[in-house]
Symmetry: D2
Subunit: 141 residues, 4 copies
């Protein structure tokens, strides 16, 4: 398969369908079945102790898998998350953005599965790993 | 085991350690190894389409398991989430709060595991299921 | 919804499509959206140390969710597991069968989700928890 | 960190502690924090339809994560699986061995997390993805 959207088209479309994304997430890199997304960490993403909260990491993984599906299948703003698993492995570094490296492992007719490793920018060890399954709505007959 | 905190003590302590919780979450019911938490749904919990967002449901499940661990072991604000799984099964009903029914399945010396079913208030079918593992920090020797 | 198969029909059909099941698994109880399955533990289910192996517990959870889907939708031997999560919480008791208590949380047109608690027979605390998603093949047009 | 065991030592030790492994699994490649394991597929690993069964894939993922932990920490046959997630994405090819490519993402004092992609030998798309958490027993004081 090949990309249906390029990096700029993907970025514009994400901003169009999810206005709150602007200011939170940015597409860093886009390849066939692979995307890197940045979470621009600000105070509202933190939890007591100063590290990035679980829900913010969940949002980053979720938007990353959604973005790579969109980039592959084009402008169909309809896929929904049906399942996710998450391993939280290390505390994110304070004061650094998070970078999600997301590989689309499967892009089927009905289900898509993405795998995500999340890093504090510039660090070698991942802070979290996630996989997400999206259900792709079937066209009515 | 028996509860270390009652419902009021748990609620007060959650507000003390996580001030942002006030206005978002409320302890509805507390029993041995079991808690029900309410997410008071407002605009900031919604995603395009008007239903509650994935990150908001994640936050609800996470705070529920954290709350029942606290209620069982007392005021030790230290457990951290190490793993979660989530099944998103139905779209939350618009304009209704979410209720998490959380059972603590295991409370070990090192790990605790909670299972959560999330409902739109008053509905019979769950909108989501989650399990969360917390690691309980060991006392230094 | 109501059951499409009763306990005897379900048991017979499982034996017909999965002959190896005979001698390993038995349907203990069947209700609307709920089944209990027994793993008749023998030497081949054990791992070093004498407790039931992970793969044997996986097989028990998997066959339980498969069985309750069959019981609800009838003889369509086609659903496939697409996802599972597992929490192993306690060591199974030596010399006891395992009982899986399986609730079908969702039975959709495309996906079904079951939740399973596994107990050593007669014990109060579960040894494991699992959720399984099955994909239900769509009829060709 | 560096490897505590080399490929031959790891292979010998796995055979010593899990005699049934001989004939089922083989260490194909071992690097720092990374192992490849082969499941030598035979009739007892198949399910109706002729593809490799879920429990056999579970066993392959589980032994892979166990093996890389052993290779890193040395001969301590004690770690136990506490959690796993699995995505089954494609049907394994008939008549081919399975190869698990396993990366140890975290090796902490208490928990270790491994990520596994499973392939039919020689194929490009993975048939399954799994992550496994092991708990590493603490020395008594």
């Amino acid at each position: 398969m090949t990309l249906a959207l390029d990096k700029q088209e993907l970025s514009d479309y994400l901003h169009e369908i999810f206005p709150p994304i602007r200011g939170d997430f940015a597409v860093e890199r886009l390849e066939d079945m692979y995307v890197e997304m940045r979470l621009m960490v600000s105070d509202r993403h933190l939890r007591p102790g100063g590290t990035v909260s679980g829900p913010s990491m969940f949002a980053l993984a979720d938007v990353s898998v959604y973005a790579i599906i969109l980039a592959m299948v084009g402008k169909k703003a309809l896929a929904v998350t049906t399942n996710c698993s998450f391993d939280f492995m290390n505390k994110p570094a304070a004061g650094k953005d998070l970078i999600a490296k997301c590989t689309l492992l499967k892009l089927g007719r009905v289900l898509a599965v993405g795998d995500v490793l999340i890093y504090s920018e510039g660090e070698d060890s991942p802070v979290a790993r996630s996989s997400m399954t999206y259900s792709i709505p079937q066209k009515p007959a």
